[in-house]
């Protein structure tokens, strides 16, 4: 089974600034995928960004980018130019390539201050 650790329960950032969320994971598999999901108060999980473990290039999606360190089993999310709408809970998740079940971390609450 995979374990996913998010060591920052809460993060606060000023609007327009940058915040980085950390995530570490543990898996013995080689074929897996990594995700960051955003969960606003409505509780719907919204995909922010995904990374295939076999790709060395870090994924980028507009203001969101990741720093994937495979050897260290680390997968951090950087939110640039933070906006008030980014305020939410953020979850890191690992999915194996074969059966593709997602294992989630405990989440990090991000608050963007005006």
């Amino acid at each position: 089974a995979q374990t996913v650790t998010q060591s920052q329960p809460e993060m606060s950032v000023q609007e327009a600034e940058t915040v980085t969320l950390s995530c570490t994971y543990d898996t013995s598999e080689n074929n897996y995928y990594l995700f960051w999901y955003k969960q606003p108060p409505s509780r719907q999980m919204i995909l922010v960004i995904r990374q295939e473990a076999y790709k060395q290039q870090n994924a980028t999606e507009n203001r969101f980018s990741v720093n994937f360190q495979k050897a260290a089993k680390s997968f951090s999310l950087k939110i640039s130019d933070s906006q008030l709408g980014d305020t939410a809970m953020y979850f890191c998740a690992v999915g194996l390539g074969n059966d593709y079940k997602l294992s989630f971390g405990a989440g990090t609450t991000v608050t963007v201050r005006a």
Partner: protein, 114 residues
């Protein structure tokens, strides 16, 4: 494209009563998941279907929880009898198939057991 639909959105029941949640995945999605998310935690997989077959139900408390996906499309999750610790958001999700495809989540069904 319509997203993952869930109902009811909110339910309050007394302990020992029963409840059922319904999920309709995105059209054409063969894989369907039910997750349980307790307040302050990340989602935990309860059961995973591939078409109308169960891929994994190892985390489903089978003495009180049951789920079915008879025609390989929509699915029902039932709890009987409910316990106080079942209070959570029940998230349904779907993906085209196994193996690396993006998993899309519904808005969730909030259950409060009193």
């Amino acid at each position: 494209e319509a997203g993952v639909a869930q109902s009811p959105r909110y339910k309050i029941i007394e302990k020992r009563q029963s409840v059922a949640f319904w999920c309709n995945p995105i059209s054409g999605h063969a894989t369907l998941y039910w997750y349980q998310q307790i307040l302050g935690q990340g989602p935990k997989l309860l059961i995973q279907f591939q078409n109308n077959g169960v891929v994994d139900d190892s985390q489903l408390p089978k003495d009180r929880f049951s789920a079915e996906r008879l025609k390989g499309v929509d699915s029902t999750l039932k709890i009987q009898p409910a316990k106080l610790e079942d209070s959570a958001v029940y998230l349904c999700a779907s993906s085209i198939s196994l193996g690396g495809n993006t998993i899309y989540f519904g808005e969730g069904s909030w259950l409060t057991v009193v």
